[in-house]
Amino acid sequence: MSSLTGTVVGKVIKVPHIVHGKAVFGDAVEHRSRVGDLFLTPKLDLDALVRPRSEPGPAFEVPLREILDLLGETGRRLNLDTNPHLAEALDLISASSRHSRRVVENTYRVIGQTFEPGALGYQVERELGPGVIDGWVPVYKPNAPSCQVRAFPPRLVHIMAGNGPPAASISIIRGALTKGINLLKLPSNDLFTATAILRTMADIAPDHPTVRSFSAAYWRGGDEAVERLIYRPQYFDKLVAWGGEATIRHALKYVGPGFELVQFDPKVSMSMIGREAFCDAETLERVAGLAAEDVNMMNQEGCASSRHQFVEGDVKEVDRYCAALARQLAVDRFWGDGKIWKTPADIRDTVEGLRFTGTHAVFGHYDGRGLVVRSNEPVDFHPIAKTVNVIPVASLRDAVRYASVATQTVGIYPRERKAEVRDALANAGVQRVVTLGSAIGLATTGQGLPHDGFLPLQRLMRWVSDEESE
């Protein structure tokens, strides 16, 4: 393998760091990934990774237009067939990934789309309002002297998510749009995508202020020796954290005056299917296919992946749906594999026991093609590895009580019935209602629409005012 981004020496992988836009190679520190692979990184130079507040960030005064141009060009260059950084990231990731190479490759084929400058310009304007990112904008408050407001660039440290390349591109895009200073903490489950994107940007314009605004490094999440030194308001305004409970709990230790947490919480998602699905056999199969699409994104490893499905119908009808869903789960999809790793033993053994309660039915297989468990109430275990729990309900409204603050996305069929339940769902804590089959929402998530219940760019900026008096 060539040695552009990471290098494979035997089974040892070298992961570069990015310091203010420049790649730094080295093998001074040994780490072990979740799957036990050894990887090497350069020594962490914390002094180099932080920038003093005494000087503004490189991109603070760069017009948005120029940033959008750079991002647009980046999007065009993120072409798997011509971009060596991306091709290499794909090789390295698929070597240790549990997903098929086909699915991983698909995720790389779409990340360029997320850089579309028209959509990003819309996102900035929609989330922040016109002009405020480029300078001081007058605001006119009734019966008050005129004041000015600016969305000032922040200093951000991002704890990135590693479940799929779009997570990396979203962090980089948001960081770039803020014009702020960005330190990316690489996740052990994707050490390559972020650096590949940043190196692509550096290839276009090595001295571009936005390029120089980014650093990326790996340290073990929660490593106090690193985090207690840099998670400080002297260096950063906000910690932007994705992910699991442990990540958030670590991060909370450092939150204090002047250092804020912006969190994208770990989430679960579900589906609600109306009785319209049963109008004929063809429709049922099609609806099951849409539901399988929502289950099988990154083989059910995403926050938007459906795990529980509430189906309006009697047990007999619902069992027909379950059988169709089990068939559809076994189909190869753009975002998921028809056959994945085996069902984990604890789920398999639990489901084997449930067969004999007289209140459950089981469809599908334990071999990775997909498993469906029908029960009167949600099962006690957390469904993973293409396992879906289907619960019959008399009406979609009855399913609302199973939604909670932990619920992110609810996919609903048919689309006309979203309006019937969306207020009740929002009241329960749900953040996103979609038409069944559209849970992935790559083109919409965060791009001018709320993400996890808030407008992310707005939260990331520092809002500063210049006020007049009479």
């Binding site: 979740r34 479940n163 699991g244 995403g302 957390h382």
Partner: protein, 456 residues
């Protein structure tokens, strides 16, 4: 002899040998495999879950370790009943589940009219001769499994053997006993340990941690509250009441420990017997020292200790502290390793290695339980699993959550049989190198608080 008795009988008869652990694996392997197949053929007739598994995996016979692997259950099997059946008092469905996951249980025929909670249900079944054990988990969810009359008999025999083998102690009802568990309850430990306490203990000097029975309903209430908090239906005062009750229980526990500690001080010049798990024993001994135990207990006293800490935090040198306070020789300790859902226990020898009886087949698997590992220099390191051939009331082939090393070579203690090194850890407690960040979560992540401390 061999012509008329089964391989299973031949192996199980060894429990009466002078030293059942003294054997060479190669001498019994063929017999073990034959016995494994006999047990399999017998139980698949009676256990729908096992029969289903054998059909699904196309396993008709056991003739080698590889045939056994697809038939191993995880301990999830005995926890797989839906909690909602208990909440909704659906004893019929729960009974069907027990019958499917056990052998020889006759639950359906027991009259459970009017039963209000799971403790009553278990008591009603017990009155009808149907023994179901529970075993607690840290998640507030208990496993539920059946034991036949023979299983209970062998359980007691197994404990007697372990005491004799490790410490020389015999059941002569002569010793003051400090039993670090409640006097009654459905927990397997309470049945096994309780019978040991009565077997070895002087009837006027058996001290239990509590005179109140341990109720499954109380253990489950933690699980129920977690669920209610997750669903957003628990009120602040319900959470407060639960936490206060937990705090009260802690106070009661300390009072009981003080009562027991005073008895330890009183009986310090008589050979006593301590029975329990590490956590409560450590606390008892610390309390006894605070209350006047200055120069240890009688040197012929014996102590059974073991069990995982289940998330209880103790000082790293707690075993040394306990040993210093009691001043007992190593040979006075009965250290055990075993799985709650299995019957056969593994006592430690003078070299602190856990010895495996010939009617228990150890297997060592990779982390994901996908393959059986091959020995390197006579040792196997990985995920531990056991086929306990002694069990007849449920399936005894279980994969544990533990990582450890099995030595197939003779032990330094002089015993030629296989042993497990004193390096066992739960996979849960291993530094997994888990630095994987993912946006997908579970509802549990939203249930905050120190509720975990309420688990006894």
């Amino acid at each position: 002899m061999a012509g008329t008795t089964t391989a299973l009988d031949q192996l199980l008869a060894r429990i009466d040998d002078e030293d059942p652990f003294y054997y060479r694996l190669e001498d019994v392997r063929a017999l073990q495999l034959q016995a494994a197949d006999e047990r399999f053929q017998q139980l698949r007739q009676q256990m729908p879950v096992l029969d289903q598994r054998s059909q699904d995996t196309g396993t008709e016979r056991i003739s080698g370790l590889a045939d056994m692997l697809p038939l191993f259950f995880s301990d999830a099997t005995y926890k797989s009943y839906p909690e909602s059946l208990v909440e909704q008092r659906n004893w019929k469905a729960l009974g069907s589940w027990v019958e499917a996951t056990s052998a020889g249980a006759n639950i359906a025929q027991v009259d459970v009219e009017g039963v209000q909670d799971i403790d009553e249900w278990l008591a009603r079944l017990r009155d009808a001769g149907q023994y179901l054990y529970v075993s607690s988990g840290t998640s507030g969810r208990v496993s539920l499994f059946h034991a036949s009359a023979k299983d209970r008999e062998r359980d007691l025999a197994m404990f007697r053997l372990a005491w004799r083998w490790a410490t020389g102690a015999v059941p002569d009802q002569s010793r003051p006993v400090f039993a670090l568990f409640p006097v009654k309850g459905s927990h397997r430990m309470m049945d096994s340990f309780g019978r040991i306490a009565r077997d070895f203990g002087r009837p006027d000097a058996i001290y239990y941690l509590s005179d109140q029975p341990l109720r499954v309903t109380d253990v489950n209430s933690l699980g129920r509250l977690r669920k209610a908090i997750g669903a957003g239906t628990a009120t602040p005062s319900e959470i407060d009441a639960f936490e206060q009750k937990s705090a009260e229980k802690q106070v009661e526990m300390q009072q009981s420990l003080e009562r027991l500690a005073d008895a330890v001080v009183r009986h310090r010049n008589e050979p006593c017997l301590f029975i329990g798990t590490w956590g409560p024993e450590y606390r008892l001994v610390k309390t006894a020292v605070d209350r006047g135990l200055a120069s240890g207990v009688h040197p012929d006293s014996v102590i059974l200790a073991g069990g995982g800490l289940k998330g209880i935090v103790l000082p790293p040198d707690f075993k040394e502290q306990l040993q210093q306070a009691l001043r007992l020789d190593n040979s006075r300790y009965l250290l055990l390793y075993g799985m709650a859902e299995l019957s056969t226990i593994m006592p430690a020898c003078s070299q602190r290695r856990y010895h495996i009886a010939p009617w228990m087949i150890p297997i060592v698997l990779d982390k994901d339980s996908e393959r059986i590992l091959e020995p390197k220099d006579g040792r196997l390191t990985g995920r531990l699993g056991f086929f306990d051939l002694a069990l007849e009331g449920r399936w005894g082939a279980l994969i544990s959550g533990d990582h450890g090393t099995v030595d197939l070579k003779p032990c330094p203690c002089g015993c030629p049989g296989p042993s497990i090194l004193d390096t066992i850890v739960r996979y849960l407690d291993l530094p997994g190198g888990d630095d994987r960040v993912n946006c997908a979560g579970t509802i549990d992540a939203y249930v905050r608080g120190a509720l975990g401390s309420a688990v006894a």
